[in-house]
């Protein structure tokens, strides 16, 4: 067996964090801060249970995804997340089609809504942690023709609430009160705190080479 010559070598030899999510935005956020990530999307029940609160829903789905993938990879550390858009108790999930996306945007525009992201971490030796971060998003009033144009560009696909704050819809969002990365899909500050605290990762900004 080749023994790592240095601690850095040992670090490099450790398997990467598994991200139990197909979301390219979550992967990009983690890689941006130098984390190597292996993607294993999880297939779980994402239907909303009767009278389920947005908070409880996000926690349940994030935990389900982490647990399903952790069972497949019992020696690895697994991170999962779920993002919920809500107004009061009404949950706005990922629209199934453009018509549904239109309905959502019509309801969200001109008012504030909550975006809640729950994060679940699972790993060997009983590692099991959860956190949840919520933010308030204020959306300006949108022209009907704007909504048409936005639907035409397709950015709504696969996004809770039918919009992407870091995309073209950045022009819809007047204010974010709370964590911006929680709105994008992964509360990065809190996730890093959790990963450092549990020893699941170490800071690695300089390993990324020249920043873009």
């Amino acid at each position: 067996m080749d023994v790592p010559a240095t601690f850095a070598d040992a670090e490099a030899a450790a398997p990467p964090l598994i991200l139990a999510s197909a979301s390219p935005r979550r992967r990009e956020l983690l890689e941006r801060v130098g984390l190597r990530v292996e993607v294993w999307p999880a297939d779980v029940d994402e239907s909303v249970h009767p009278a389920e609160l947005p908070l409880s829903y996000a926690l349940r789905v994030a935990a389900s995804k982490a647990e399903v993938i952790a069972r497949l990879h019992p020696e690895r550390t697994v991170l999962a997340a779920d993002t919920v858009v809500s107004v009061g108790e009404s949950i706005y999930g990922k629209p199934l089609d453009a018509a549904q996306a239109r309905e959502m945007l019509q309801q969200l525009q001109g008012r504030s809504h909550e975006v809640t992201t729950a994060v679940a971490l699972r790993g060997p030796a009983g590692l099991s942690r959860t956190l949840v971060v919520a933010a308030e998003v204020e959306m300006r009033t949108l022209l009907a023709s704007e909504i048409d144009e936005y639907l035409g560009c397709g950015e709504w696909r696969g996004k809770a609430g039918g919009y992407a704050v870091q995309g073209i819809a950045a022009g819809f969002v007047r204010a974010v009160r709370g964590s911006v990365t929680a709105v994008i899909g992964l509360p990065l500050a809190e996730v890093l705190e959790l990963l450092y605290e549990t020893g699941a990762a170490r800071p690695a900004y300089s390993s990324r080479g020249t920043a873009a």
Partner: protein, 241 residues
């Protein structure tokens, strides 16, 4: 100058803790647009000697919280007859089993953790037998699998409706305990969710009390609308056991 006696030193320590707690509540109220008079501090005295209840009362605290039935009953017996303690409001903040209800009804002004219709019925029965009305809070579980006790939000409507049909029970609000976390801010989504749940079930007119927030996170709870905060360590230090 001689050293203060242990009793005086203890009083001074708790007084300092109380001043800090009140200042933190005032600051949180200012941030949340509330008045400090809306928030009651429940001094959590579990696992501390009864003597500390007298210290708390001396400093103007009118509410104490206990988690264990035997301990609460024993302390009430020990403090029986002590001047000034007749007006003290006792809260039972622990998990409640049906067979313990008869020991608590009439001894406490508020039960913080009701989570079943069976418990409501038992309280109604015992309060009826004692000729009084018992005030309670419904404990809500917001984290699903991560929280074993407390009702699921989906069951709240039924519980409240059932409570309104009972003549000897008064449901005055909701309670929740977020999962243990290192940072106070981590609890905020849970506090906010409880307040929003309360607002959707009749608002503060129907459910005026929100019991949420402990030593680690009460300022965040107050910002999010808590009316009862359960504070032990910040007043009395770490517990012996």
């Amino acid at each position: 100058m001689s050293e203060p006696s242990p009793e005086v030193a203890e009083l001074a320590t708790v007084a300092r803790g109380l001043a800090e707690v009140r200042a933190a509540i005032a600051a949180a109220c200012a941030r949340g647009g509330r008045s400090p008079t809306e928030v009651t501090v429940v001094a959590v005295t579990k696992r501390h000697p009864a003597r500390l209840i007298e210290v708390a009362q001396t400093l103007g605290l009118g509410d104490v919280g206990e988690n264990y039935v035997q301990e609460l009953v024993a302390k009430q017996e020990e403090l029986r007859g002590h001047p000034g303690l007749e007006a003290l409001r006792w809260h039972y903040i622990g998990k409640l089993q049906r067979n313990k209800v008869k020991d608590l009804v009439g001894r406490v002004c508020l039960l913080h953790a009701i989570d079943s219709i069976a418990l409501l019925d038992e309280i109604d029965k015992r309060a009826g037998a004692a000729g009084l009305r018992q005030e309670v809070l419904v404990a809500v579980s917001l984290a699903g699998e991560a929280q074993k006790s407390g009702v699921a939000p989906a069951q709240l409507a039924d519980l409240l409706a059932h409570g309104e049909g009972l003549s000897r029970v008064s449901i005055r609000g909701l309670m929740t305990m977020p999962p243990l976390a290192a940072a106070a801010e981590a609890s905020r989504p849970y506090f906010r969710a409880l307040r929003e749940l309360r607002d959707r079930h009749g608002g503060a007119d129907r459910l005026p009390l929100l019991s949420m927030g402990t030593t680690g996170d009460f300022p965040v709870a107050v910002e999010e609308g808590a009316t009862l905060v359960r504070v032990g360590t910040a007043l009395f230090g770490e517990r012996a056991t």
